[in-house]
Subunit: 420 residues, 2 copies
DNA sequence: CTGTTAGCGCATTCAG
DNA sequence: CTGAATGCGCTAACAG
């Protein structure tokens, strides 16, 4: 028990060849049930775990998945990782963490990605907000390397991509403010280069338009998603003349909304009394700030889950959950059963929150999954409704996003051809 | 260029045997300089990266390092990971992410650790706050598996362990409040089981004692580090009679301090006007809250760096930085040069922030590194000093902790025998 | 200093 | 249905 048992040891103990042990371990169909049981029991009792590296080498296919994170500065990256990790833990895959350090130069950043491809360590990659590196990630994809993007600003055509419904989220935030009677609603935008900034802006302006209100350029300021930039934006807005000054502000990120909160205090303005405030993201802190922030929840963990499930379905060799580790757990929560019971593609289809773009190429070309966002009403807009707790930290975490689907502005159901 | 070149391809192109290529790649001394150059240039031009899995298999030693994170609920875990990732990126090692899911049962949590050992994927493990799992991690260690613990509550004897100087941190926080004239200073503790809770409490009470003040049990309440528990604690404190009520509160975590902040507002109390407030951790948000929080900064990224360097020095086969990736970067920041220039043990010794316990066993037994914490003065205590910006997000990140050392209450310099 | 020979631990042929 | 042989890509002894 001191040394790790090898497959040969198991073979010997079970009185079969290691080829057979291998077959059992890989769930091959052609194995005598008795033999299988015997081998399995020996495996269990010896605590044998096949070497991922060796089997990867021999089988020509790694069971490691790379996750590329863009520095750790964004608070919700941990949430996305959590979603990924949760799913991975029920498979026989492992996660390799790659990060693009902020201190790196551009060329070094490229190198990180080249390195991922060249080292051939991982079988596929999930890239979270790769940003400027997206085009390099796309290069991986064009080399036939399985890649899934999460919420990037540049969507290289053809690369599978997961993101939240920014448009509808922003739309409902603005609508909420309108419903509360606000007529002068400012918007603090995200950086122009980001797709999500544009989408949120568009959702906002669409809501205004539908309410018969014009978008006032004086009420549109831009930030870069950080708290500091939110402060600057708030100052600009509060400096406007009384007639121009907004009665409500919709910030494109919670962090920027925090900046507004801080500056409002400086100006002696109360939230929501003098100015209503809504954010976007619903990071953990938003429910803890005073006043608690009304915001649009992004399903970060679900985005992670979704990404890894899509990726695994592409690799599509993750036959069964690792088994060994989860045999005992009765798996009482629906989530688990759900994922275990169905092959991944079916589950995706079943949920109907998958959309397929690029109808020009009939097979799959660009698989694109958009997850629903949701309005979380708290105190900062002055709405009388009791604050929704549904987005409180850890509440519904792990649950599959509700089947309710978004505006069909980008959603179609031509999904049967997903997996190949 | 479509397929990844193998070592054989390189050998052929360079007109040498693959054994020689391997020697060059592994920085073996016995290679003809000319040959080495030739091989190196071919490697470069082909973009050849040896397969980590294959070399791990053949060499009997993996170049993957596991990082075990205890769910992603704590905000600073990302900071620790950042430190680890930064160091790793200058080596030829890669990171494998393991997480202990909150939803797991106890036995499953054990299994995660057993799995790490059994799968033999990684050469060593960094365990961040393994908490209840610490004893299992210790089991790994006793199996000869290289492990480094970060800031755990149970320190299994003999396991290398990195943590921040909680005692001195808490001591200086309390001292700061005392210096500001406070006589009734409450303390919101962390959970009793945690070592750091006790250390912080001790630092606090030591400061009071030295100032000739008694610790008033009525002013000690406990929480569990979360914001919610901070709220509860604050209510308890604010409910005290005017004579008993504290004029200052030292919370054992920033999150609990946020809870106090929120409740203070409910009670119509201003911070720092009616009650001064100090926290512990200096998470990113603490500088953004209003009033900005005076707190004790924990050097999370440095803890990560330190842990990985210690671990690598144990594995001690990480001869040179991966080279390929960092050749071009002039490496202008001192940090890089520092680490590249010196072997790890020397660097540790050179910094002199290493301590060795258990003097009974003369060789190395329990290596224990304690990093300095520092007081960050902001607005929440009402101190007139201008707020220290030194801990602002991203400022000095990446820098090696200052050589200044702590209270020598646990530090000795018997380090020459570190690496074996 | 360098080439040759064996495996690392496993999956996958291909014959039984 | 199962065993024996072959090799994944690389390193580690060996011999030269």
């Amino acid at each position: 028990m001191a040394r790790k048992p090898t497959i040969d040891d198991i073979a010997q103990l079970a009185g079969v060849s290691k080829a057979t042990v291998s077959r059992v371990l890989n769930h091959k169909p052609d194995v005598n049930p008795e033999t299988r049981e015997r081998v399995l029991s020996i495996v269990q009792e010896q605590g044998f775990v096949p070497s991922i590296t060796a089997s990867g080498l021999a089988g020509g296919q790694s069971r490691l998945i790379g996750v590329l994170v863009p520095s750790f500065t964004w608070p919700f990256i941990a949430d996305v990782l959590r979603g990924v990790a949760e799913v991975i833990s029920s498979t026989s895959y492992e996660l390799v963490l790659y990060s693009i350090n902020d201190t790196l130069r551009g060329s070094d950043k490229r190198d990180v990605i080249d390195h991922i491809l060249a080292s051939k360590l991982v079988a596929g990659l999930i890239a979270i907000f790769p940003g400027m590196q997206a085009r390099h990630v796309a290069r991986l994809h064009s080399h036939g390397f399985p890649v899934v993007l999460i919420d990037d600003q540049f969507i290289p055509p053809g690369v599978p991509w997961i993101h939240a419904d920014n448009f509808t989220g922003a739309y409902s935030a603005a609508q909420h403010l309108i419903a509360l009677g606000h007529r002068r609603i400012a918007h603090i935008q995200g950086p122009a280069g980001y797709l999500c900034s544009r989408e949120r802006y568009q959702g906002y302006s669409r809501a205004l338009q539908e309410a018969g209100m014009a978008v006032d350029p004086a009420l549109i300021v831009s930030g870069d998603f950080t708290e500091i930039s939110g402060q600057a934006a708030a100052r600009a807005l509060f400096a406007l003349s009384p007639e121009q000054r907004p009665t409500a502000i919709f910030a494109a990120s919670d962090q920027m909304a925090f900046g507004v909160l801080a500056v409002a205090e400086e100006y002696g303005l109360t939230v929501p009394g003098d100015v209503a405030l809504a954010g976007f993201d619903d990071i953990g802190l938003s429910s803890l700030v005073r006043p608690a922030l009304t915001t649009i929840r992004q399903p970060f963990p679900e985005m992670g889950q979704c990404a890894i499930e899509l990726l695994l379905s592409r690799l599509d060799s993750h036959r069964f959950p690792s088994g060994n580790r989860h045999l005992e757990a009765p798996s009482d929560d629906k989530h688990q059963e759900f994922r275990i019971a169905l092959p991944v593609e079916s589950s995706l289809n079943g949920e109907a929150w998958l959309s397929n773009e690029n109808h020009e190429s009939p097979a799959l070309s660009s698989t694109h999954i958009q997850l629903a966002t949701s309005l979380v009403v708290r105190a900062s807009c002055g709405a009388s409704r009791v604050a929704s707790k549904s987005a409180a930290r850890g509440t519904a975490w792990g649950a599959v996003p509700p089947a309710s689907r978004e505006e069909p502005h980008d959603v179609s159901f031509s999904t049967p051809g997903l997996s190949s």
